[in-house]
Structure formats: structure tokens, C-alpha cells
């Protein structure tokens, strides 16, 4: 017995008297223009989500090629492959593209846009046209940033953090830095609009019975990410506007020019380069979690499905995510320990505290797999890879939260290795786990498992080969952001190993491209629910119809599709009772 909702051409209505049988897939009717006009004018969250993902993956490949060129440069001490300024531009653009234009938009613009409305039974995002505008701002922001390569003087060279006064008009003249700033203004607005849309959709468009504590963890994490976006991105956008004013209108907000000493101290009203760091990192550290929490959500969807169990400690996961987000807003200055102008114990304590909720999440992921019927499909392999990668990045993060260690390793390759292990763990391992997991839902066809596993194993091997030597290099004192280094310090062998690893990662992503082609040329039909998924998105067709659902199942737990497909398992306790009985329940529930 299912209740029925019927999509209309312009909106969605739920009939007063539900019928007993599901309707056909009326949503496949023609809706709006087709072809290129469809991509230009669509306000459908699925089309916009796909546009985001395609753009983000293109940015990922471009940025990845930049990384390979940089690794080639560093394979020998005095390489002449790149000039210093070319190298500076490359690491700036590599970081900027990966962080601002791949990792975030892929998650909250792409996957969240596509999946969140499906997971809560909504017909679309709350503000569809704002959603479309977000995408166009993101796309034009991406183009604006890459325009930097084509202007006189080349692209920005001040790193993805654009520290003042290096980013001033005197130190970084030319149009390249300006295109960088304006690109981030555009993508900043794009992110803010997406954050508003995510919160509005989750608060107002849930299906009847989909209470907050029945939402899938991915949706919960996207809600928390949406709030973090609204805290962080306005600060960045405002800071960028002020930086632009400094560069062109002599406002001296981030420069100490003209400061007078009053009683031996600078006037409180004079500009300060440290203000940029404060503003930037008030965005920048929440941004790290904006780039992590969506991916935590992805693996939390995948572990239960491929363990054939409910997620272990559902509410614990929700509160841990909220705690991570809340704490992450109070730790920004741990990036500024060495400035000598921040409150070390405050920021160190809060940074260390983040390890507690993150540890809870790890415990719950392992608990979800414990005694489960594990299936090591490609999405599951990527998710397990995420656990190892993020754990290593997280542990070194705890080390860096301690000021004495940070003083010793600041601005060395130790930080580079830590940062890449965190972000590749999340955005790459977990992000592509999500792509492999939801690809069948988006296109109705599977990705090839064999090619997927080649992709995973090469990535996994390349990941460790690339970044473990960088920890050693950091401890040996190699500074980051250098295009050459002395040959007598014993750094070259580690750099060669790291470069080999980077190329293994590069090869692994060739397998993904091949996989796309194979899936397109020789499609393997996926069906509506190929993984025996548990959450609501697996109830609808693959790909979903316009406005997503022709009918919905009763929602009585956090896994309504599982309940519907396995009515014999309905007597198994869900929620509080299930989570407090530990081992016995785990055994009973595994495989039901």
C-alpha cells in the first residue's frame, strides 16, 4: 500500500485521497526545452547538480595536471622546467582550483544538489532559479579564475591564501590577481546561495513523516555544511572586496602604511596585514570542514548499504557532526600560531577538541561495518580508503594543533602532506566513492566494477607513495612553495618517490575516464536500486523523473526504502533500542 503524489506541469500536488497503487512514471513527460537550451535554462536540481559535477570534475583534471607538472619540477633540485614565477602561479592556481572550484562545488553544488531533495522526498530545491543562478556564478567564477593565465603578467602567484601584503598591488601587480579576487567573489555568492537553498530545502520540503531525526546522515551533513557556508563565505567575500579596494582605491585596510605610534603602540584605527589572516582563516577553517562534512556524509551512506546494516549510532553521528561544525568556527587562528599575535591556548584547545567528535564518527563507521555482511564494491573500497587516508591526515592535524610542533613544522612539507591527506581523503576518496555509488541513480547505468577497482587501488597506492615522503621532507626542513632546493640536503630521493606517486595517482584517474567512456558506449543497466540501498533516493527510478517521485513509501525510519523492500525486517528495532543493544542487535540485524 503506497500513497501517491502526482506531479503537475508547474508544481506538485498531493491528492486529498491517496490511491492504493503507484502510478506509472508520468514524470518522464517532456518538461521544458531540450538539447543545449535545456542545460542553459533548466531549474531542475538534477540537471544543475550534474552541471556542477561535470564542471567540478573538469576543474579537478586541469588542476591535477598542474600538480603533475609541479611534481616534475621538484623531482630534481635545480629543475629548469618551470620558472619561479610559473611555479608560483601553478601552485596558486592548483590550490585555488582544487579548494574553491572542485572540492566544495562538487560536494555541495553537485552531489548535494542532486541527492538531498531525493533523500527527503522533495520535488526540487526550495529556490530552483536561485539554484540555477548559483551554478552560473560558479561556472563564470571558474572561467574568471582561469582567465588569469591569459592576461599580462600571468595568473596570481600569492598562494590560495593570498596573504597581505603579498597580495597588495605593489607586491602582486597586474590583472591576474584581480581575476583571482573577482572569481572568488562570484563563487562566494554562488556558495552562499547554495547554502541558503540547502537550509531552505531541508527545513521546508521534507516529505510527511521525514522528521529531522529520520533524515539520512548525508542530508544532515549537508544541512550543517549549509550553515557553515553561511557563517564562512560572507566573511571571505567581504574580505575580498576590501582586498580589491586596497589594491585599487588605496584604502590601506590590510597595509600598515600611515600608521602612527601612540604611546609606543600603533593606532587602533590603522590597517593591519594580520586582519587579512584573521578574516581569511575565519572563512578558511570552517571551509576545511565545508570540504569534509559532505564527504563524511557520503561514506555514512555507503557503509550501511554495503554492510547490510543500519548506520551505527545515528544520533551520535548527528551530534558529532554538529559539534565538529561548531568547534570549527572557533579554531581559525591555529593557522596563525607563528604570527605571535594569537591566543595560543584558546585555539590549541579548541582545535584538539575537534578530535573527539571526529573520533566518534570513526568509531561509528567501524561500528556500522562490525559484524556486517560486507561487500567490497568500488564505492565501499573508496570509503574504506577514505578511513585510512583521513585518519592519517587527522592524526597529523592533531599534532599541528599543538603550538610547539606547529612552530617546528610551519610552512614545511609536513603541512603540505597533512593538508593533502585530509583533503584527498575526503574530497577524492569519499567524493569519488559518492560518484561510483550514485552514478547508477543519475544515469540508470553502472560504472564498470573492474575499472573502478583499478582506479581505487592505483589511487590508494599512489596516495601513500606521494605523501608519506613529504612528511619526512617536512621534518627534514624542506619549505613549501619553493620551485628549487639545494642538492646537498638529501631531499631529492624523497622528492623523486613523491613524484612517482603523483604519476600513479594520475594514471588511476585515467581509469575513471575510461570507465565513463565504457559506461557510455556499453551501458550496463542499473535498475532502480542496484545496491539494495536503504534511503529514499533508491525508491525512485534511475534516473529519477521530473519532480523526482510519482509515489512515495511510508516513512517510518531513517531507511524507508529498505523498510519497503524488506517488510519481513520491519520487526527489527530501529533507532534508540537498536543502537543501545550493541553486539546482539548487530548480529541479528546484519543481513536482514
Amino acid at each position: 500500500m503506497t500513497d501517491v503524489i502526482e506531479p503537475t506541469q508547474t508544481g506538485l500536488q498531493v491528492p486529498e485521497v491517496p490511491t492504493g497503487e503507484p502510478h506509472g512514471h508520468a514524470g518522464h513527460e517532456d518538461h521544458g526545452p531540450s538539447g543545449i537550451l535545456k542545460w542553459l535554462t533548466s531549474t531542475d536540481h538534477k540537471v544543475i547538480g550534474l552541471s556542477y559535477m561535470i564542471t567540478a570534475i573538469a576543474v579537478f583534471y586541469i588542476s591535477g595536471i598542474m600538480a603533475l607538472v609541479m611534481r616534475l619540477q621538484l623531482a630534481s633540485p635545480h629543475s629548469s622546467l618551470l620558472s619561479f614565477s610559473q611555479y608560483n602561479a601553478l601552485f596558486t592556481m592548483h590550490g585555488s582550483l582544487m579548494l574553491y572550484l572542485f572540492a566544495g562545488p562538487f560536494a555541495f553544488g553537485g552531489l548535494a544538489n542532486y541527492i538531498v531533495p531525493l533523500q527527503i522526498g522533495a520535488p526540487d530545491m526550495a529556490f530552483p532559479r536561485l539554484n540555477a543562478l548559483s551554478y552560473w556564478l560558479y561556472l563564470t567564477g571558474s572561467i574568471t579564475m582561469m582567465l588569469g593565465f591569459f592576461v599580462a603578467g600571468g595568473a596570481a602567484q600569492f598562494g590560495w591564501v593570498a596573504y597581505a601584503p603579498l597580495s597588495s598591488a605593489t607586491s602582486s601587480p597586474g590583472a591576474g590577481p584581480d581575476t583571482w579576487i573577482m572569481a572568488l567573489v562570484l563563487t562566494g555568492f554562488s556558495a552562499i546561495f547554495t547554502g541558503v537553498n540547502l537550509c531552505g530545502t531541508i527545513f521546508y520540503l521534507r516529505a510527511p513523516g521525514m522528521t529531522m531525526f529520520r533524515m539520512p546522515i548525508f542530508t544532515w551533513n549537508m544541512l550543517v555544511t549549509g550553515i557553515l557556508i553561511l557563517i564562512a563565505f560572507p566573511v571571505l567575500t567581504a574580505a575580498l572586496v576590501m582586498l580589491f579596494c586596497d589594491r585599487h582605491f588605496d584604502t590601506h585596510i590590510y597595509t600598515a602604511v600611515g600608521c602612527h605610534l601612540v604611546n609606543g603602540l600603533p593606532m587602533r584605527s590603522c590597517g593591519s596585514p594580520l586582519l587579512w589572516q584573521n578574516l581569511f582563516w575565519f572563512f578558511g577553517h570552517p571551509e576545511v570542514y565545508i570540504l569534509a562534512l559532505p564527504f563524511f556524509g557520503i561514506v555514512t551512506e555507503i557503509f550501511p548499504v554495503f554492510s547490510r546494516k543500519p548506520v551505527f549510532g545515528y544520533k551520535g553521528m548527528v551530534f558529532a557532526t554538529m559539534s565538529i561544525a561548531a568547534l570549527s568556527t572557533g579554531v581559525w587562528a591555529h593557522h596563525m600560531f607563528t604570527t605571535g599575535a594569537v591566543l595560543l591556548p584558546f585555539f590549541s584547545l579548541l582545535s584538539l577538541l575537534i578530535a573527539v567528535p571526529t573520533g566518534i564518527e570513526f568509531f561509528n563507521w567501524i561500528g556500522t561495518m562490525w559484524h556486517g555482511q560486507l561487500r567490497f564494491t568500488t564505492p565501499m573500497l573508496f570509503s574504506v580508503g577514505f578511513l585510512f587516508a583521513f585518519l592519517m591526515g587527522g592524526v597529523t592535524g592533531i599534532m599541528l594543533a599543538s603550538p610547539p610542533i606547529d612552530f617546528a613544522t610551519h610552512d614545511t612539507y609536513f603541512v603540505v602532506a597533512h593538508f593533502h591527506q585530509v583533503l584527498i581523503g575526503t574530497a577524492v576518496f569519499a567524493g569519488f566513492a559518492g560518484l561510483y555509488y550514485w552514478y547508477p541513480k543519475m544515469f540508470g547505468r553502472m560504472l564498470h566494477e573492474g575499472l573502478g577497482k583499478w582506479h581505487f587501488w592505483l589511487l590508494f597506492i599512489g596516495f601513500w607513495v606521494t605523501f608519506m615522503p613529504q612528511y619526512v621532507l617536512g621534518l627534514l626542513g624542506m619549505p613549501r612553495r619553493v620551485a628549487s632546493y639545494p642538492s646537498n640536503l638529501g631531499w631529492q630521493s624523497y622528492n623523486i618517490v613523491s613524484t612517482v606517486g603523483a604519476f600513479i595517482i594520475g594514471v588511476s584517474f585515467a581509469f575513471l575516464l575510461v570507465n565513463f567512456v565504457v559506461s557510455w558506449r556499453k551501458p550496463i543497466p542499473a535498475g532502480d536500486n542496484p545496491w539494495d540501498g536503504q534511503t529514499l533516493e533508491w525508491f525512485t527510478t534511475s534516473p529519477p523523473p521530473h519532480h523526482n517521485y510519482t509515489h512515495l513509501p511510508p516513512i517510518r525510519s531513517e531507511r524507508p526504502t529498505w523498510d519497503y523492500n524488506h517488510p519481513d525486517a520491519l520487526n527489527v528495532p530501529h533507532g534508540k533500542a537498536a543502537h543501545t543493544n550493541g553486539k546482539t542487535n548487530g548480529k541479528v540485524r546484519a543481513g536482514v
Binding site: 501517491v4 503524489i5 508547474t10 508544481g11 506538485l12 498531493v14 486529498e16 485521497v17 491517496p18 518538461h31 521544458g32 526545452p33 542553459l40 535554462t41 531549474t43 531542475d44 520535488p123 526540487d124 526550495a126 532559479r129 536561485l130 540555477a132 543562478l133 551554478y135 556564478l137 563564470t140 574568471t144 590583472a175 584581480d178 581575476t179 573577482m182 572569481a183 562570484l186 520540503l205 521534507r206 516529505a207 510527511p208 513523516g209 521525514m210 522528521t211 529531522m212 531525526f213 550553515i227 557563517i231 566573511v235 580589491f244 584573521n278 575565519f282 554538529m322 561544525a325 561548531a326 568556527t329 572557533g330 587562528a333 591566543l343 584558546f346 579548541l350 511510508p554 516513512i555 517510518r556
Partner: protein
């Protein structure tokens, strides 16, 4: 609405506490102001949702005044059936050219900041056209 409001109020409370702690320990203006902004971001929408949660339960304002209780929304009730959400959910446009036009307008305007004011002569008309178009589209409603 209850969970939504408590979620946001909790965040506001947490940031408020951190803000006070930071101010009295660090005495630093910039960080304190940003934490204060984050506090407001929690309290303002949180209070709004709490107001509606109380109103659904028969309180005209937060804790005083009485009106007829409407009860929780279907999406907030454990036992809700699909039919409980019967009726229009919202109007969702099938397609619209205006976000694209507005995006191109914004693109031209930011490029004008870098490459020259002449680009604003393209950007501003695009923005005005898109704003007018999207507003008219919303006013028409229905098949937009």
C-alpha cells in the same frame, strides 16, 4: 520546527559562549565580532523557527497569548501519512532563462572591475533585464 529551532538556538548559544570566552581571554576585536555575527546567525533564524513551533502548539507568541493549536507539520510528525501533506507544496518552475542571463550579467560586471568599465555597459543591461524578467515570471506564477 522544534528540532530545527533547537539546532539553530544551540549553535547561537555555543557561539555566544565562545564569543564571550574569547573576548575576556583574548581581548581581540576582529575575532570577537565575527563570533558575534555567528551567534546572531544561530539566534535569529532559531528564534523565528521557535516562534512558529510555539505557535503551532497554540502559543500566540513565544510563551504567552493563546490561539488555536494547528499541531506539528506532517514532516515533523513520526506517524504522518503521505495524505497528511495533501495540497500544493509549492510552484516549481520547469525552466527559466533568467538565471543564465543574470549570471552572464554578473560575469560581465566583475570583468568590468578588472578589464575596464566598458564591460559594465554589457553587464548592467543584462542584470536589469534578468531582474525584470525573473520578477515578471514570479508574478505570473503558474507555468513559468
Amino acid at each position: 520546527m522544534k528540532v530545527e529551532s533547537l539546532f539553530l538556538l544551540f549553535l547561537g548559544l555555543f557561539f555566544g559562549g565562545i564569543c564571550l570566552w574569547y573576548w575576556f581571554w583574548g581581548y581581540e576585536d576582529g575575532g570577537t565580532m565575527m563570533l558575534f555575527g555567528a551567534t546572531l546567525l544561530g539566534f535569529l533564524p532559531g528564534s523565528y523557527y521557535f516562534f512558529w513551533h510555539r505557535r503551532f502548539h497554540g502559543h500566540k507568541y513565544f510563551f504567552w497569548g493563546r490561539i488555536k493549536a494547528a499541531g506539528d507539520r506532517p514532516e515533523d510528525r513520526d506517524d504522518a501519512e503521505m495524505a497528511d501533506g495533501a495540497g500544493d507544496i509549492d510552484s516549481f518552475p520547469n525552466s527559466s532563462i533568467w538565471p543564465f542571463v543574470m549570471g552572464m550579467g554578473a560575469f560581465s560586471l566583475v570583468l568590468a572591475m578588472v578589464f575596464g568599465v566598458w564591460l559594465a555597459f554589457i553587464g548592467i543591461p543584462l542584470m536589469i533585464t534578468a531582474l525584470t524578467g525573473v520578477t515578471a515570471e514570479s508574478r505570473r506564477g503558474g507555468d513559468i
